[in-house]
Symmetry: C2
Subunit: 215 residues, 2 copies
Amino acid sequence: MLERMPPPSKRTNDPERTKRDILEVAMAEFASEGYSGARVDAIAARTRTSKRMIYYYFGGKEQLYLAVLEEAYRSIRALEDQLDIAGCDAREGLRRLIEATFDHDERNPNFIRLVSIENIHHGKHLKQNLQLRQLNASVIATLDGILKRGHTEGVFRDDVDAIDLHLAISSYCFFRVANRHTFGALFDRDLSEPKVLAKSRTQIVEMILAWLAAK
Amino acid sequence: MLERMPPPSKRTNDPERTKRDILEVAMAEFASEGYSGARVDAIAARTRTSKRMIYYYFGGKEQLYLAVLEEAYRSIRALEDQLDIAGCDAREGLRRLIEATFDHDERNPNFIRLVSIENIHHGKHLKQNLQLRQLNASVIATLDGILKRGHTEGVFRDDVDAIDLHLAISSYCFFRVANRHTFGALFDRDLSEPKVLAKSRTQIVEMILAWLAAK
DNA sequence: TCCATAATGTACGAACTAGTACGTTTGTGC
DNA sequence: GCACAAACGTACTAGTTCGTACATTATGGA
């Protein structure tokens, strides 16, 4: 005769850890599968807790995705803050910022993928979130400072604004990671390979500096 | 008393048109909603025919997506073919190729989105398709020719290969379209606006030419 | 004209998926 | 200890979505 087990597992409440757990797993799932492809059950299964808690803490799939997106953007805002460019000249400062952007995108493929996914969905979630826009304003301010210094030093042209420059830098760094799979398949070049990566890192710096120096 | 209508609609068989109809609608749906977000029923509804025909001609959702992807890649292979760069010097030839790439991406947002989507899914469908890889080889050959001419003319550096160059050009042209929504939301700049677009078009040409001329 | 096959329409089913009803346990302030 | 809210688990449901069984019509060749 099987006895009904007396509850052998002591449950421990830890709301903060549960929330973080869900967020982490959800980020991986959304980044890997896309918004529609992500499964709430799949997220729940890889969690220390249950699906019930996803709805308890986040409300639903869409709100969970929103939380993931916000978390992703928030965790990387400090990019330029960690950068020491006050002491160096404009060209050197810009070089460091480009390299930091490059390294950041390389190290955060999930973030890159989430941005791609958000664009597939026409950016409708990001547009709802006022806060996130401000977080990203700082990189423009930093670039603007570098550009101004460059004009003063007489080493940069003056008809390129900070947003133009940011577009040029991000597009290259972003594309390398976001389109790695199709690019690799079509041209037989693995962009994540260390040697290829190192060459790219040099080239984007050269490209931007040559461009700004022109005229 | 309502009479049963004698079949008032003469059906006409037109397999080619039916197939094309399905493909077109499917391309729009997949590009707009992503692979998982796309609904077979939604595609069928916007078609002249029924869902039954999707399965009759294509076999299933995944195979339909594959057909859409192939069609998208195929319809744009002729990019460089339409280009007349035999008569001009290396710098002018490159300028025309960059502008053609830029215009192409701008005019084909659905193609851009499909490539993004394919990358979200780790390029697994593209990897299955050998044919498509060869279609894209031609742009590399064209770039290689231009680079070689540039070396002969003494106007281009010689440590940048065709794939490096293609990466630099595509990434900018692609990103502008693919990340239009998040970029626009974050930096309040509408990249599709004619004036912004025209400036970008000039800038990517300047950037690449300045880079290749350096040293 | 008639038949074989390709092309098409309708209706339905099985499986999946987001979300919830309901009950139980844990921790905390008193 | 004790009451009460916060935290959590299980099992279920309603609706959706891909795919198909079955029947019917069109069309080209014998």
